[in-house]
Symmetry: C2
Subunit: 358 residues, 2 copies
């Protein structure tokens, strides 16, 4: 495996509404320093692949409106490596576009596809897993997903069920996938946790470019066709307008539905590197640095008798919080949320509501 064949596709088109108000359509969470560490989730994503993939081989797929933010946050990336979607069509068209584009440049590419808004705690272990998976994908016609060792019966993640009876001869850490499962109810999640062959689907995929384009041809032919026919167009001035037409012709479908759940030969690398999709305020709270009282605070904030709170306030605002336990306090762009962490599933209801006492 030559490192120069390694390519990275970062999917950064999402509109994170669950972390309202700090994440919004104007500035979704991948572009925000939600951990308060000085780097956005997108920047952290790029960081953790340094040494595995060159900047030349790193591709960010995002919407046209977010492309300037990506430029600004990742100045080291060549402008041409930012692929612009005219409108969101979920992950299958996104991956098809990036895959055919990469194939037009390097038919021997090995590709990692990753979301842009997740976090990884143990970066060293993550790099080991990615490097090992890339090597495996380069030597076989295999679709590899990453499965996260569950630590609690989480009902917010999809699960991957593995056949743990035998690992792959080429890589003892990789197992065949028996089935993908949607987000379960609590009882089912507890059963998954009790068994030892269910893993959280991290939405990270590793394959060589021929494996994925062939899988797309077989399982998502109409989408694949739209981007295969642009092989001579990629890199020309016509690329964007032709890609825009291709997107208009594509259905809105995830790579999971379009390919992974339909294909026979899917593999999974079960791993433990401290992963979270930060899909909830609770997950963000648990992943962020906390003070001795269990508060995760970003901003110019004084707290008194306050514990287990996640506070995200604009730096320019002076904030005093007294006597709260287990709350979200967050402000962004003129919207302030004060809400119990246990009630965060109602944030969509809150953020769309009309004034009054409910």
């Amino acid at each position: 495996m030559s490192a120069s064949n390694n390519h990275l596709v970062i999917m950064a088109g999402g509109v994170g509404s669950r972390l309202w108000p700090i994440s919004s359509e104007q500035m979704p969470k991948q572009f925000i320093d939600v951990l308060g560490c000085g780097r956005s989730l997108l920047q952290l994503t790029l960081d953790r692949f340094k040494g595995i993939v060159t900047e030349e081989n790193t591709w960010v797929v995002t919407s046209e409106r977010y492309a300037p933010i990506v430029h600004e946050q990742l100045p080291e990336l060549p402008h041409r490596n930012i692929l612009k979607e005219p409108f969101p069509r979920n992950t299958a068209p996104c991956i098809a576009y990036a895959s055919w584009k990469i194939k037009s440049i390097n038919p021997k590419a090995n590709i990692v596809v990753t979301p842009s808004d997740h976090i990884v705690m143990d970066t060293d272990e993550f790099r080991n897993v990615i490097a090992s998976s890339l090597k495996f994908a380069g030597e076989s016609d295999s679709i590899v997903t990453l499965g996260m060792q569950p630590t609690r019966p989480d009902t917010g993640y999809g699960y991957i069920q593995l056949d743990m009876t035998a690992s792959c001869p080429r890589n003892k850490n990789i197992y065949r996938v028996d089935a993908f499962h949607e987000k379960p109810d609590l009882e089912t999640a507890q059963m998954y946790l009790a068994d030892n062959n269910y893993f959280w689907n991290a939405g990270i995929f590793i394959w060589n470019v021929n494996t994925i384009v062939n899988a797309l041809r077989i399982y998502a032919n109409s989408i694949s066709n739209e981007f295969e026919k642009l092989l001579d167009i990629y890199g020309t001035p016509q690329e964007q307008s032709e890609v825009n037409k291709a997107y208009a012709a594509c259905e809105r479908i995830s790579i999971d539905y379009a390919v992974l759940e339909r294909a026979d030969e899917i593999f999974c690398y079960p791993a433990s590197f401290g992963w979270s999709d930060l899909g909830t305020w609770k997950a963000l709270h648990e992943s962020a640095r906390q003070d001795s009282q269990g508060n995760s605070i970003v901003g110019n904030v004084d707290v008194y008798e306050t514990a287990n709170c996640i506070i995200r306030m604009p730096e320019k605002e002076r904030v005093i919080v007294q006597g709260l336990n287990g709350y979200i306090v967050a402000e962004k762009d003129g919207s302030l949320l004060i809400c119990k962490l246990t009630e965060e599933q109602r944030i969509r209801e809150f953020s769309g509501a009309a004034p009054g006492n409910k």
Copy 2:
């Protein structure tokens, strides 16, 4: 009593720090619509004297920095009726200035002196009390204060002890003052409440101009001298510079200490017109309009499972509050306070503190 002899002095130089952050040195509470009724406390103060005192005879004493705010909020007031203090010297110099200034215009004036940041619920009763007291002061050489019937053992007010054995022959509602008492501890306040001859000192005074200037000559001679010697200066271009010199020569002292507690003949009109000095968030909460859950809300705020809170947010901010009971949530000029109502006595500590968990 001719209505044209009635004068009103509104003291509007205060720097309310207890209602931080909505009240601040830049914009103290008298200039703020703290009740959410569309009028500032200063405007409400002027409103409640309409029909008793003309605008021509209404004087606002304030600091130079607040004079433009007074101009803006009370456009009906002649500019010359805004008296500007070069720096705060408490109420005795303020009242001496206004009294000598008014005497230079109308030696037969009857004067009401009032704070600008209190509220009155029953305006009709208030007008009756003021009109009756003005008539009494016009016909006698008496200093009259207003005493508020206490409804709870409040430790935040000064108390006036009355001799209730006989009312004045000229006005059956007015009694002689036995003593003034500082803010008591709770036990003393309970004793005051159990007796029926203790009343809250509302800081509202009624007298004719000769009574007060004579009292100032006797009990606060050095202050009185400074303003008496400007009798020929008032209304001339030199007034402000000479007044500034007079203030520089004055000690910082309240009219209560300088005159009322020293004079022998002080009278009090005990009254009940729903009064509050809004000196605390709790007092403001109790005085403001509340929803069915006991919340007093100003701003673009949605509340859920929230009760007994006072919320004061800028109109331009969209606010969601969930799951709070008995809290202050207030923002002004880039400062946000979230604090239990029971802890509001610590606001000065909070507002001056450095960041961290205390």
